[in-house]
């Protein structure tokens, strides 16, 4: 089970925090500090796993993290989670984050895709949380249809827009995302067509 997801920057400033197990407020802050302390002193060329902290759950507890640019994405999980699985989940999460921020940005900034910044995570904190809810629910990794999440993000943006009276068409965003051509990102995201096919799992 995932116990917590922490995103903080190189200086240990929290950017997104989600706990799936209850800890008192001061304990949460302590966990963030200690995790940052553990993670930040590791080089980039060592492995992405850390074990045996004392804060969450004692020895049955590991940290799986990735460091991108200025941000650390840290998952605190118990021993039942697959290390590499979580590592890829972080990748998926980052993909969705970029996708989300990208969607927001294409409307406001023409082609200024590079301007997605660390702070945008906070600007759209609520949206990031919604995406997270779809990928990790109550500490469980959900194998989901990627299209579905993309659809969710779209829906969410559409609602915001209709509320805000904006009528900008996200067409450019869609085409930009389609052409992103990210080698480590699922290729089969099909934004124009969000029909979810009925799976052919035969009954048993």
């Amino acid at each position: 089970m995932i116990k917590a997801i922490l995103i903080f920057n190189n200086h240990g400033k929290p950017r997104l925090i989600r706990f799936y197990q209850y800890f008192p407020e001061d304990m949460q802050q302590q966990i963030i500090r200690e995790t940052f302390h553990l993670v930040s002193k590791r080089d980039d060329n060592v492995c992405n796993f850390l074990e045996g902290g004392s804060l969450i759950g004692g020895s049955d507890y590991k940290l799986i993290y990735r460091h991108y640019a200025t941000l650390y994405f840290v998952f605190c999980v118990d021993s039942s989670e697959s290390e590499l699985g979580i590592l890829d989940l972080i990748q998926v999460m980052i993909y969705f984050l970029v996708y989300l921020l990208f969607q927001v940005f294409v409307e406001t900034l023409d082609k200024c895709f590079e301007n997605v910044c660390e702070l945008d995570l906070i600007f759209h904190m609520d949206k990031v949380h919604y995406i997270l809810q779809e990928v990790v629910m109550g500490g469980m990794v959900l194998e989901t249809n990627m299209n579905e999440i993309v659809a969710q993000v779209e829906l969410q943006n559409r609602m915001e827009k209709s509320e805000g009276g904006l009528s900008a068409a996200p067409a450019r965003a869609v085409s930009a995302v389609k052409n992103m051509n990210l080698p480590e990102i699922p290729r089969n995201i099909n934004i124009g067509d969000i029909n979810i096919k009925v799976p052919s799992l035969s009954p048993f």
Partner: protein, 1083 residues
């Protein structure tokens, strides 16, 4: 990660520096208050300024949320700001109620923020959640999908346990929803319910099965979480689903899922991982189930081509599964190859997982470690500490007597560089364990332990020091060897103290002072005054804690002898007898008195050579007189603390002590695990322990041949010859030619490898916990733990299978009148078993002639002596009691010695503790001249006490006065054996709350062990049933008429039998203990 994303994110720092110059950020930041807040914070430099800014922000939020003019839309924006402040660690609890309000009243988007804020702010136990229940109920019934989704999400995140019934039907209903996202969320919500309140979702387990067969893979994947959890708890219950899981995995692996679930063209990798985890749980120790999954595992291994991170994740899970389930050789081979790929991979994450897999596997297959020895050696020098630690973990598992020195050396080197507390504690424990088990000689052992103590510092587990001191004090059987070890320890400590004792941790100083106090006299070269001087130095150190000082003072008390140290001791006493610490003061006083009075000293602390093993009376029988006097004076009887607490609580407490009979006590001997079965009365806990020690020293005196160290060393020499070559050779022959420098370093590594993997050859595998050739140390410890030598025969399996002679119905007595009378076999058994002991009374009974009047159906049963109750004129009343299996019958004989018949005689019996019922209807009897009338009463215990008393009255029409009499009988007459199995015993034991613990004296007999002999006495006298005897322990059951069970657990503890009784009847255990004591006194 992709180039684009990389580029995106690397552009961030520059953005941070020039926020204003970027049009996008500038626009955004100004567009919202959150934006400006964030921007302001990033511009701040100190924590203090940030605090001030946030406080200001919070107070402005506070003003706005409480203002009635704030619209829901503004509220939404405020809530996001509050979430941000909360994330930074500032308290914004005043917004919690508004978050709930937002979730309640807002439109969809506002609701969403409200729910999010609630799930981030509140926890399951927060009282405000009650206010949310109605909102959730409403949203669950909504026709808007998004609202239902939000409600289900919040339910699975935080929901109070006691509110589950309110929404359970609605959530359950959602399992049939046409939309898969709703079904999926409903499954997860139910999973959450199952976690926090399993009994409330008991009835919907069938629906989980339906979810498992859902046509949407997402829903099926969600239900796997539930099954993983359920199977973890109870693998037996779900074996029937194995084929289903295998089929699902087959379809997933075969690509039958929609393409949408592919990730990097791997079909549903997370579902695969989870299925593999489930399969390994199901197939563990179950050849049949494992058989079913072999095929699909092989397919998974084949399909997962090494091309992406996520396939490695699946492979790793596959390998783990293959090694967990019942093994199949060709699969194992493939898995081993896979592990090899991991270990040899250049990607560090894979290497780490490879090492982890090796650790997991190495106990089953030590050859695998041999294959990868060179990689392991490389990893030892790896810059990443995590990799190093994992490598040491592997080495720890392959340690044996031959490679222990090399491996421990590596561990100590690592320890000296490690900064992480957790790692240090863990590793120190491991080194201590290895040193204890495999130490090749004295010097090495002491030196290693010194390193452990100085590196472990204060964080070390306390049992490491304790067991070390115990080892030292128990020593060896060989006097010479024993002496050498102690002298070496003393020497090394003296030199340590002469060095820089300031640098040593407190724990180590305590160990040093104890050892010096106890054994420094063995070393003639070091005088007492030197030792006292060194110890005194410790007292003056600034960082010595008062605990350490106490140890030092105690050591001084033991050492100070002769005039040379008198002045120093005197000054120490003066300093500390006025200390504020009472313990220190006490020790200083002791030191003062003992150092002044040599005669007293000789008595209290006799020289070691003359020390006799202490005889400890663990039952504290010398206090019996005192206790009985106190009781006579009206003192309340002693109740053990747990009983007192229970009475205080006045509730039927749940027992938290599981009764595990299968726990093998003697095998856990080498570690100090607190055994659940260590049942000695809390009163005599300390003394029982001492008696145990006494027992082990008596073992020593009997001269059990056991040589530690030397034996292990010799064994190593004998076993050494071939393995190193076998271990090292292949790698040498396969290495390609290298430059001279390279070869040198390579050779060094190989040398290291050959010493490290020594003895790992499959023929002489001596892994931890396995193998018979464990060095003497471990064995010695185990022996040391068994307190009594002769009692060891009980562990002999043959002895155990011997039919217990306690109450066997011998087939020679089929013509017994009892059976003829139609009573059951068991009753006959009871009668026969006790016939011997009661023979004398039977004789007596015949003498009086009254026994002839015994009712026919009672003849042949155990019968007490017939005693005269009272007499009045010509009438005489006598009585006895007869043990029937299901009741106790009291027989009253009314005999008339005169010639005339006496009419209207009435006998009434009553008792506070007993229920008396009369067999005959009529109250009145007529007794003819020179005849005897028999009345039969059956007795039942109403309230147990040690002795029960019947008060009877004889109504005699011819005499004006009624004659009163009393009849007293022991509670033991009401005890019957209770036949039950060990399992039943276990469950019953847990359900009983009244208990008593006591130590009883053992009965010694020539032909049997003390446990058996004692049990024989008890079963004979008290009609108990021995359920099982396990080694030094026995469980016994009996019942008090009618059907009130009492269970007894006995354990030989030193020279005493520790018994623990439990019963649902409060008074019963105490009464029974009394009778046990009585029975044993007679022998």
């Amino acid at each position: 990660m992709s180039d684009v994303v990389e580029k995106t994110l690397t552009a961030l720092p520059s953005l941070l520096l020039s926020v204003d110059s970027q049009p996008g950020s500038a626009k955004l930041s100004t567009s919202s208050k959150l934006g400006s807040l964030i921007r302001n914070i990033t511009e701040l430099t100190s924590k203090h300024e940030e605090e001030k800014l946030i406080q200001r922000e919070l107070s402005s939020i506070k003003d706005q949320v409480s203002s009635p003019n704030t619209t829901m839309r503004q509220m939404k924006e405020l809530m996001v700001r509050a979430i941000y402040c909360e994330m930074l660690g500032y308290d914004s609890s005043f917004t919690y109620i508004h978050a709930i309000k937002l979730a309640q009243q807002g439109s969809v988007l506002e609701k969403r923020v409200g729910y999010l804020a609630v799930s981030l702010f509140l926890n399951e136990h927060h009282e405000l959640l009650l206010l949310l229940v109605n909102t959730v109920l409403k949203d669950l019934q909504s026709t808007n999908l998004i609202e239902v989704c939000m409600a289900l999400t919040v339910v699975s995140q935080i929901f109070p346990k006691d509110m589950i019934p309110a929404i359970l039907p609605l959530v359950e209903e959602k399992l049939n929803h046409p939309k898969e996202i709703i079904r999926r969320k409903a499954v997860l919500a139910l999973y959450k319910f199952h976690l926090i309140a399993p009994n409330q979702v008991q009835h919907i387990h069938n629906k989980f099965r339906k979810a498992l067969c859902d046509k949407d893979p997402g829903v099926m994947g969600a239900s796997l979480h539930i099954y993983l959890h359920l199977i973890q708890e109870n693998p037996e219950g779900y074996k029937d689903l194995t084929t289903s899981f295998v089929t699902i995995l087959k379809q997933v692996v075969g690509g039958k899922l929609p393409m949408d679930f592919n990730y990097h063209s791997v079909p549903a990798p997370w579902i695969q991982i989870q299925l593999l985890q489930i399969l390994s749980l199901l197939g563990k120790n179950d050849p049949g189930t494992s058989e079913i999954m072999h095929e699909i595992l092989e397919e998974s291994l084949r399909r997962a081509e090494m091309n992406h991170n996520i396939t490695y994740a699946i492979l790793y899970e596959c390998v783990k599964c293959i090694y967990t389930i019942h093994p199949k050789s060709d699969l194992l081979e493939k898995a081993a190859k896979c592990i090899g790929n991991f270990v040899l991979s250049s990607k560090i994450n894979l290497k780490y997982l490879g090492l982890k897999a090796l650790t997991y596997v190495v106990q089953q297959d030590p050859k695998l470690a041999l294959q990868h020895q060179m990689t392991i050696i490389e990893c030892l020098e790896h810059p990443d500490l995590i990799i190093k630690r994992e490598t040491l973990e592997i080495l720890f598992r392959i340690t044996n007597a031959q490679n222990v020195t090399v491996i421990v050396e590596k561990m100590l080197t690592f320890l000296s560089t490690s900064e992480d507390d957790h790692t240090t504690i863990d590793l120190v424990g491991k080194v201590a364990e290895l040193a204890k088990k495999y130490a090749p000689d004295n010097e090495w052992f002491i030196q290693t332990m010194n390193a452990v103590f100085s590196l472990g510092g204060e964080t070390m587990q306390p049992d490491i020091t304790n067991s070390f001191l115990k080892l030292l004090s128990e020593g060896f059987d060989s006097v010479e060897e024993d002496r050498k070890l102690k002298v070496f320890a003393v020497n090394s400590y003296v030199s340590l103290l002469e060095g820089e004792p300031e640098k040593l941790p407190q724990r180590f100083l305590q160990v040093i002072s104890w050892v010096l106090g106890e054994f420094s006299h063995l070393q003639q070269d070091v005088g007492a005054e030197t030792v006292v001087c060194l110890l005194d130095k410790l007292l003056h150190m600034k960082n010595s804690t008062s605990e350490t000082k106490t140890w030092v003072l105690m050591a001084m008390t033991k050492v100070c002898e002769g005039a040379a140290c008198a002045p120093l001791v005197q000054s120490v006493c003066e300093t500390y007898s006025s200390s504020l610490d009472t313990v220190l003061r006490q020790r200083a006083q002791e030191l003062q008195h003992l150092s002044r009075d040599p005669a007293l000293r000789a008595r209290v602390l006799p020289p070691v050579c003359t020390r006799e093993p202490l005889e400890v009376d663990s039952s504290l029988s010398f206090l019996d007189e005192f206790v009985s006097e106190a009781l006579a004076a009206g003192a309340a009887p002693y109740k053990p603390s747990h009983q007192r607490q229970e009475e205080l609580a006045q509730t039927k407490a749940v027992s938290y002590e599981p009764y595990q009979l299968t726990l093998p006590i003697s095998t856990t001997a080498h570690t100090h695990t607190p055994s659940l079965l260590s049942i000695s009365s809390s009163l005599s806990e300390g003394s029982a322990d001492l008696s145990h020690k006494g027992g082990s020293s008596s073992l020593k005196l009997e001269g059990v041949k056991r040589v530690w160290g030397r034996g292990g060393y010799e064994a190593a020499q004998v076993e050494t010859p071939s393995p190193p070559q076998e271990g090292g050779d292949p790698s040498i022959s396969h290495t390609p030619p290298l430059t001279s420098e390279d070869t040198e370093s390579k050779q060094q590594e190989q040398q290291l490898a050959s010493s490290m993997f020594l003895g790992l050859d499959h023929s002489s595998v001596t892994l931890m916990g396995k193998g018979d050739s464990t060095p003497s140390w471990l064995k010695r410890k185990e022996r040391g733990q068994t307190p009594l030598n002769d009692a060891q025969t009980f562990t002999d399996p043959q002895e155990l299978t011997d039919p217990s002679p306690l109450h066997v119905v011998s087939p020679q007595f089929p013509q017994s009148p009892v059976i003829a009378n139609g009573t059951s076999d068991t009753e006959a058994a009871l009668a026969l078993a006790c016939l011997d002991t009661n023979r004398s009374s039977t004789n007596q009974l015949e003498d009086r002639g009254l026994s002839l009047y015994l009712p026919a159906e009672l003849s042949g049963l155990i019968c007490s002596e017939i005693s005269v109750l009272c007499s009045s004129e010509s009438l005489e009343l006598s009585a006895c009691h007869v043990h029937k299996l299901r009741s106790l019958e009291m027989i009253v004989f009314i005999s008339n010695s005169s010639d005339n018949a006496v009419q209207q005689i009435q006998v009434q019996l009553h008792s506070e503790q007993l229920e008396v019922s009369c067999a005959s209807e009529s109250q009145m009897e007529e007794v003819k001249g020179h005849s005897v009338v028999v009345r039969q009463y059956s007795l039942r215990v109403r309230k147990p006490s040690v002795h029960v008393e019947l008060i009877g009255t004889l109504f005699h029409p011819e005499t004006p006065q009624n004659v009163q009499f009393t009849y007293r009988l022991p509670l033991s007459s009401f005890i019957r054996p209770l036949t039950l199995s060990t399992e039943e015993y276990g469950t019953m034991w847990l359900s009983f709350s009244n208990d008593t613990k006591q130590n009883l004296t053992l009965v010694h007999s020539e032909n049997e062990g003390p446990l058996r002999a004692t049990l024989n006495v008890l079963t004979e006298d008290l009609h108990l049933h021995v359920v099982e005897i396990i080694g030094m322990e026995a469980i016994v059951a009996c019942r008090l008429l009618q059907d009130q069970p009492c269970l007894m657990h006995c354990r030989v503890h030193g020279d005493a039998l520790a018994v623990w009784l439990r019963s649902p009847v409060p008074e019963l255990p105490d009464c029974l203990i009394y009778h046990c004591q009585r029975a044993l006194q007679g022998h």
